[in-house]
Every structure is written in C-alpha cells, then in structure tokens.
C-alpha cells in the first residue's frame, strides 16, 4: 500500500516536497538573496519536470478515487513544463519582490490541486483538487502588493470562483441525488438522460465554464487578467485553463457520454458565443494583458469546437492544442512580462517601434502571435486545423464555417500588434531590454516548441496513441 502510494502519486509527492523545502527555507533565520533563491527554485522545478518523464505510474488509489496512467502523467508533465517556463520568465519581476518563497508555495499548491483534479476519478476528489487550485490563485493575483488593481483582481477572482464553486457543488449534489454515487464509472452507469440529470449537468457545465472563462461565464476574466501580475496572468490563461480542459475531455467523453446529444448542442452554442464575443472584445483592447485575455477567450471557443467532436481525434486535438497553447501563449506573455517588469509599460501604444530597439523580442512576440492566429508553418496552425477538423467530423459544417470566419477576425487583432511593433514609427520606443538568461531560455523553449511541434508529427501521434 505504501509502495503504491509512493509510486502512483510520485508527481504530487514531488511537488509537495518542493513546497516543504520552500517552507523550511522561509522558516530559517537565514536571509536568502532573491537571485540565489530563484536559481535554486528553478533548478528544483527543472528536476521536477525531468522526473516526470522517468517513471510512468499506472493504477488507482483510495478505492478508485485517484487514478494514474500514461496519459495523465503526460498531462501533468505539460503543466510542469508550463510552470517551469512561467517561473523562468518571471525572474526579472520576482528579483525585486519581497516574498519569493510565498509566491512559489502558492503557485505550487495550485499546481498540486490541478494534479489531483486531473487524476481524480470521483467528483469529490475532483472538487477538492479544483478548490486547491483556485483559492491560492486568488492570493497570487494579489501579488503586486502595492498595486490597487491587483487587490481588486484578487477580490473579483475570489468572488467569481466562489460563485462558480457554488454552482459546481450544487450540480454535484444533484448528480449524486440522481445517480447515488460520486464515482465517475458509477455515474456513467446510472445516467439515462432524463431532464433532472441534464439540469445537474448544466450546473456542472457552468462551473467548468467559469474556470475556462467560456462565454457567458467570462466576465471576470479581463479585469482579473489586467490586475494580476503578468506571471500570474499567464498562469491563469494557460495552466489553469489547460488543467480544467484536461479534466473536461474525459468527463464529457466518458462520464457524460449518455448525455452526449444534450451536451453537444450546449457546447455548440457556448463555443460559437465564446469565439464571437472573445474576438469582438479583443478587437478594441489597448492593454496587452487585456488583449491576450480576450484572445484567450476566443481560443477557448476554438478548443470547444474540438471538444464537441466526441471522437479520439477530438480528445487528442484538444490535448495537442493545449500543448501548443502553452508554447504560444507563454511566448507572448514572456515578452510582455519582461517589458512590464523592466519598463512598467503594458499598453499597446508603448510597443510602437519596438522592432527598432528589440528585434529579437519582437520576433518572439510575433512568432507567438502568428502561432496563436494559426499561421503555418507554426504549431498553432496545426492545432487549430486539427480542432476544427475534429469538430467537422460530426458533419456539422455550420460550426466549421463560423470557426473559420472567426479565425479571419482574430487574425486582424494579432496583425494589429505586429503592425504596431514592426511598422509604426515612434520617437521614444521602449529602450533596449537586457534580459537575464533565464527568461531567454524560457523564450527559446517557447519558440522552439512553436516551430517544431507542428512540423514534426511526433507529439500528436504520441497523444493520439495515448488517447486511443
């Protein structure tokens, strides 16, 4: 039993270990220098990422509440990778921050929560993981301690997530009433598709919708993104959403398969609304973080197109897209985070003439945005193509036409940023930014990932083989 525990929960235990190391560092009387501390933490996170590839557990724990298999380990590795990239990118911001160990303790707690959530095979375990991943996030969005907007963001975050948790819990309890079990396998066996079950599913869907900020549950997103520190914003938009989507795929495809006809229509409507509204609002944003917030809402719409497919192509395309999304969105956030940490500028207009002074950073941002827009030969093209391709598998062409046209709209605002950086003249552009080597490595990982993941089909084929 103890052996099982150690082996099956190796990813979770490793994160817990790191959290405890940080706790002891904080408790000791020693005054640690931020630079050294950050190097050490990033080293630990690297070890944590590497360790995930060495041992792939397979089995279940706690009476089938907790599962581990190759796909789940892969998903956890993706989240580890994203966390490492974000941590490397926020070096310049955290360098001058007073509470580095606390930041990482909170960050890793949310990661731990996500791991439990992904591994859960039981609604209770799922809910515990979800809450563990949400509440520290609210504290994290308050981490620009002397900024009012940051506190405001934290407050909005905690309110909206409390509300969504309420909905989720309501849905879970009704589902328990309808099926008499919280176990995923058990729920599936008891679902018949009557309206009471559909209603409880809608509540669950609303809870999920809040977490991934799908329309109409997106209203908290822009303000929270804008107020939070950039590192936290990127964590929100990539890791936190990615983890919830990792859960949504099996929950929708397996557990709620008996309700597939009902949820297909819901996902269809939500996906169309999310794409259109995310795009329309992104068109007019002036703040880079808000802009990426709305663009990430639109991206969720595309992901839902893939989710609606109910096929192996659907689930593998969603997971594949999240892999690409980690690289693309974090590449963009990396540049914005660096600029924000060093110059404090976050508005689009500040980026006028950025190419003159910072050609490399401009290309990193441009490549990331092109990938988000779905331009070949970058990975985003493959990701979007496969999502829509999977979504079309059901023969519903109207969804594909809407999605394809939305891709054109989204191209406009991505190109607008490119235009501002490359084409607009500015007498006082952002000065030349000297980055530390850690953010540089993070960007190199992102750009490398964006270029390679699509052209080389290995990643997709691997995911496909796992999903089967």
């Amino acid at each position: 039993m103890l052996n099982d525990f150690l082996y099956l929960m190796n990813a979770e235990l490793l994160i817990t270990l790191i959290i405890f190391i940080l706790l002891f560092l904080k408790l000791s009387n020693e005054e640690w220098k931020n630079e050294g501390l950050l190097n050490f933490i990033n080293f630990l996170l690297f070890i944590n990422l590497a360790a995930g590839f060495f041992y792939i557990p397979n089995g279940n724990l706690f009476g089938d509440m907790f599962r581990a298999n190759e796909l789940l380990t892969f998903e956890k590795n993706l989240l580890n990778l994203g966390t490492l990239i974000i941590s490397l990118q926020s070096y310049d911001w955290l360098k001058n921050h007073k509470h580095v160990p606390e930041f990482y303790m909170l960050l890793l707690s949310t990661l731990l929560g996500m791991f439990f959530m992904i591994s859960s095979n039981n609604l209770l375990m799922f809910y515990l993981g979800l809450e563990l991943s949400t509440i520290p996030l609210a504290a994290l969005s308050n981490f620009d301690l002397d900024k009012r907007r940051s506190s405001e963001a934290a407050f909005k975050m905690i309110m909206s997530s409390a509300f969504s948790s309420g909905l989720l819990l309501f849905g879970i309890s009704m589902l328990y009433g309808a099926t008499g079990t919280l176990n995923f396998t058990g729920i599936k066996a008891h679902l018949s598709g009557n309206s009471f079950q559909v209603f409880s599913f809608i509540l669950l869907l609303a809870g999920f919708g809040f977490k991934i900020s799908a329309v109409p549950f997106h209203l908290w997103t822009a303000d929270v993104y804008e107020g939070s520190p950039v590192a936290v914003t990127s964590y929100f938009s990539v890791i936190s959403k990615g983890a919830v989507l990792f859960v949504m795929v099996p929950v929708f495809y397996n557990v709620f398969a008996p309700l597939a006809n009902s949820w297909y229509n819901m996902i269809f409507v939500i996906s169309v609304a999310t794409m259109i509204i995310g795009n329309l609002f992104a068109l007019r944003q002036q703040n880079m973080k808000r802009f990426l917030a709305f663009s990430s809402i639109a991206q969720i719409g595309f992901i839902l197109v893939g989710l609606s497919a109910q096929s192996t192509a659907g689930s593998s395309s969603v997971i594949f897209f999240i892999l690409i999304y980690i690289f693309s969105n974090l590449g963009a956030f990396g540049v914005i985070s660096l600029v924000s940490a060093i110059t404090g500028k976050e508005n689009m207009d500040d980026y006028r003439g950025f190419y003159k002074t910072n050609p490399v950073l401009s290309w990193v941002l441009a490549i990331s945005l092109f990938s988000l827009a779905g331009i070949p030969p970058l990975a985003g093209f493959f990701g979007k193509f496969f999502l829509l391709f999977a979504g079309a598998g059901k023969g519903n062409y109207s969804l594909i036409v809407i999605a394809a046209l939305n891709m054109v709209v989204s191209l406009y605002y991505y190109l607008k940023v490119i235009k501002i950086m490359f084409m607009d003249a500015n007498e006082h552009p952002i000065e030349k930014i000297k980055a530390h080597w850690q953010p540089k490595i993070a960007m190199a990982i992102c750009v490398g990932g964006i270029i390679i993941t699509g052209i080389a089909s290995g990643a997709y084929n691997y995911i496909h083989s796992l999903v089967k």
Binding site: F370, G393, A404, V408, L415, K416, K419, F422, Y460
Partner: protein, 501 residues
C-alpha cells in the same frame, strides 16, 4: 528527381541568412540561391521531358509520399505534372528577378530577403503538393510574408493595404479550408476511411450534392487569391503599396496560386459541380475582364494601372478555367505564366522609374526615353506584351483562351458572346497601355530634374533581361509550353467530359 529540393533550397537559404551580418552577404547568398532555384526548375523540366519521352504516361511524375499525421490521413505527398512545372518555372524566374531588383534595399535587408525566400517556399510547396492538407499548408505559408513585405517596406497607405490583403487572403483560405474539410469528409477510401490525397480523390465519385455545396467554397476561396470579381479589391491596394519585388511576387506568383488552386482542387476534384457552375464563373470572369480594363483607363498612378490591368488579365485565367475545354484551360495556364512574367516585368520597370523620379503619377512623367533608354524599352516591351502584340507571350495565351471559348462544344451563343466581349477588352487595353507608355516615355521631359537621371544598373538589366527572355520564348515558340501543359489539362478535361456524357 527529388521535388523536396525545391522547398528545401529556399528554406535553408532563408535560415542560413539569419545569422549573417550586413546587407552584402545576405543579398549575395539570396542571389546564389535564387539562381540555383532557376537551375533546379530547368533541371526539373529536363528530367520531365526525359521521363515523358521515355514513355512514362503517369499523371504525376517524381512522386514521393510520406505519412505525416497518419491517424488523420495526412500525408506529405508531392509530384508534378506539366501545369505544376510551368508554374514552378514561372516562380523561379520571378524569384530571381525579384532578388535582383531588390539589390539596393537598404532598410532591414536581411528581413526583406528572408521574407522573399520564405514566400517562395510557400509557392514551390503549393505547386508540387498532391495532398490537400499540404496544399493548404503552403497556401497559407505564402500569405503572411506578403503582409510584412507590404507593411514594412511599402509606400503610400501601406498599413491599410497590408491589412486588407492579409485579411482578404485569409478569408479566402478560410473558404478553401471549409471546402477542403467538406471534400475530405465526403471521400470514401474504403472501410469508411477518408483521404486528403488529390490523386485518390480524383479517382472517386464525390456525391453530387456535396460537390455542389463545397465547390463554391473552394472556388471562391482560391478565387480571392486569383482576383475573382467581386473579390478583387485587395489587388489594386496591395500591388500599389508593395515594394517592387513584393509587387512582382504578388502579381507574378501569388495570384497564380489562386488560378492553380481553382484548377487543381476545385475543378479537378469536383468536376460535376464545375460543369454546373461554369456559367457563373464565366460571367464573373467576363465582368472582371471588362471592369478591370475600364477601371484601368481611369488610373493615373502607374502601379494602379498595372494592378487593375492584372484584374483584367487574371480574368482571362478564370475565363479559361470556366470554359472547361482543353484548349481554353491550356490557354488559362499559359495566361498564368505569361501574365506572371509580363506583370513582373511591368512592376520591375515601374519600380526602376519610381526609384529615380520618386513619382508614379503619369502627369509628372514624360520623355523618359531620352534619359533612360533601357528602362523605357523595358517598359514598352511590358506594355506591348500586356496589350497582346504577337511575338510576345500575352498574345499566345489570350488567343488560346479565345479559341477555346469560341470552339466550345456547347457551341451556343453564350460562349461566343462571352468570347467576343473578352476580345473587345483588348481594345481597351491598347488604349490605356499606349496612353501610359506614350505619356511616360515619349514627348518632352516632364521636369528638368529628370535630365540628370541615370539608366538601369547591372542588376536591373539582368532582372529585366531574364523576364524578357521568358516572355519572348513563349511568344515566339509557344509550342513547348503548349506541349508541356496539354497532357495535364487533358487529364482534367477528360474527367469532366466523361462525367458529362
């Protein structure tokens, strides 16, 4: 011969120039690479004739096929027929000429050549693709470099034009995407499996209802690239704001992606729908021909003149495709090649004049023949080719389209009237070309400052000579292009006539 070389050569060159410092090594390497591309294209032509004369009658030659995304039936499948080779030759001519013309680009020259090379990767890849996914992939690869080329190095209202071009072309590829997915889902490769493979799809019978639904998506999508009326509005703005080499690429290569795509994907794979919708295509193409010609008459900016006349000339391409006869489609392909070379030459000439006089307004130009005889001659040759003077490629191509249209099997008055209308546009063409050439070249000098201007430099001379050789080679000896293209068009037309009968 390994066709992937055509993609790898420009791609590796583009990557190789990234670490270089200074403008000089960048352009030397680009020049070497584009010359090699030209050699490669001729080598391909040679090997192709070799295979054909050895009796190889396969539809596509030099095929190679690798699984790319196996679970989604996506392959990297390439191969060429006569049409592809004609397009590849055109591309290599225009790329080399474009590199030569851009020799003196000072601003961000590394980025400029990188994007030019990257654009040619997209074009070559597109013309050799035999898999719908690969085709679409390369189609989109060729879009974004144009946005950057126009937006960064362009002139006039460049940001607006760049954005308009990028969005319209992306809208085009979105339509193509829908058509492509729809086509895929209606294929049946046995066991309920689908396929993206063009050659396999060509063997199947796609249900008529699906064809009728998805043909408009594919054709209109590629039509946007090929300036199909009423989706041509990006052409004038895009061409006129672009830097010289980008205009040459845009008109010489990019618009041909549209025509080739219409032929290869829409018409070849959905022949019944093509037959049913052909009258719409013909009507739209005729409108484009006439509208483009008349709109050109009103223009006073040299680049706008050539841009609108491109709308008119590309109308012939779509007209030929719409006629669906062997002669007409052959003519359409020849018109693509001819227009590509001719319009690239035209833009090169305009660029040379603009670099010296800093104006493109007809009213501020005049008497250039006295100060820059070489450039003026280039300009005259491009103009004469454009108005279809025998001996140049434009005449051959347009006459082939007209013959194909007149001798249409339907032989009813519709096709003849359309052909007559299209013929009539040539008169209008003559008017605006002769007016522009006469005003800019002949007469007294428009300004005394112009008397100090110099004639073409070596790079410009080579670029112009290259394109003129191409134009004259087709104009005097059209049979080689005809022989190259005809077997390929025959495959397409046979498929259509087999179904119609």
């Amino acid at each position: 011969m390994n066709l992937s070389l055509l993609i790898l050569l420009p791609l590796l060159t583009a990557v190789a120039i990234i670490p270089l410092k200074g403008a000089k090594p960048v352009r030397v390497i680009s020049l070497i690479s584009s010359s090699l591309q030209l050699l490669l294209a001729f080598a391909l032509l040679y090997f192709y004739w070799d295979e054909r004369s050895a009796g190889n009658t396969a539809t596509m030659l030099f095929e190679s096929n690798y699984a790319w995304y196996a679970s989604l039936h996506i392959n990297y499948h390439v191969g060429v027929d006569g049409i592809s080779i004609a397009m590849i030759l055109l591309t290599s001519f225009v790329v080399l000429a474009g590199v030569l013309v851009s020799w003196n680009v000072e601003k961000l020259s590394k980025e400029f050549f990188f994007l030019l090379l990257f654009l040619s990767v997209g074009a070559y890849g597109f013309f050799i693709s035999l898999d719908l996914f690969t085709l679409f992939f390369f189609l989109e690869v060729a879009v974004i470099p144009k946005f950057l080329l126009i937006g960064i190095w362009g002139s006039g209202k460049k940001e607006y034009s760049a954005m308009k071009l990028a969005l319209m072309l992306m809208a085009g590829s979105a339509l193509v995407f829908v058509g492509l997915i729809g086509l895929y889902l209606n294929t049946n490769a046995g066991n309920g499996q689908h396929t993206f493979d063009i050659l396999q799809i060509a063997q199947m019978n796609i249900p008529l209802s699906a064809q009728k639904f998805f043909f408009p998506f594919a054709f209109a999508g590629f039509g946007i690239f090929g300036a199909l009326f009423p989706f041509h509005t990006w052409v004038p703005d895009g061409h006129s704001s672009a830097p010289t080499a980008a205009s040459m690429f845009l008109a010489g290569i990019s618009m041909k992606l549209g025509g080739y795509g219409c032929l290869r994907m829409a018409t070849f794979l959905m022949p019944e729908a093509a037959h049913q919708y052909s009258w719409i295509i013909i009507v739209l193409a005729s409108i484009a021909i006439l509208y483009g010609a008349f709109a050109t008459m009103m223009q006073t900016d040299l680049k706008y003149i050539n841009a609108y006349s491109s709308v008119s000339h590309c109308g012939f391409v779509l007209l030929g495709i719409g006629m669906l006869t062997k002669t007409a489609i052959t003519g359409a392909v020849m018109q693509m090649v001819s227009h590509g070379l001719m319009t690239a030459l035209f833009f090169a000439g305009i660029g040379m004049i603009y670099d010296r006089t800093h104006t493109r307004q007809l009213s501020q130009l005049g008497g250039l023949l006295k100060v820059m005889p070489f450039i003026s001659t280039v300009f005259v040759i491009a103009g004469l080719c454009s108005l279809g003077l025998p001996g140049f490629s434009g005449f051959v191509a347009e006459v082939t389209v007209f013959m194909g249209g007149w001798s249409h099997e339907g032989a009813d008055n519709f096709y003849r009237i359309v052909t007559i209308i299209a013929c009539a546009s040539i008169v209008v063409t003559a008017v605006y070309i002769l007016r522009a050439v006469g005003k800019a070249i002949m007469g007294p000098l428009a300004s005394n400052d112009h008397s100090l201007l110099t004639d073409a430099k070596w790079n410009e001379r080579w670029a112009a000579a290259l394109l003129i050789i191409g134009i004259v080679a087709i104009g005097i000896a059209p049979f080689w292009l005809n022989d190259l293209v005809t077997p390929a068009t025959e495959t397409i037309v046979n498929k259509i006539s087999a179904i119609v009968k």
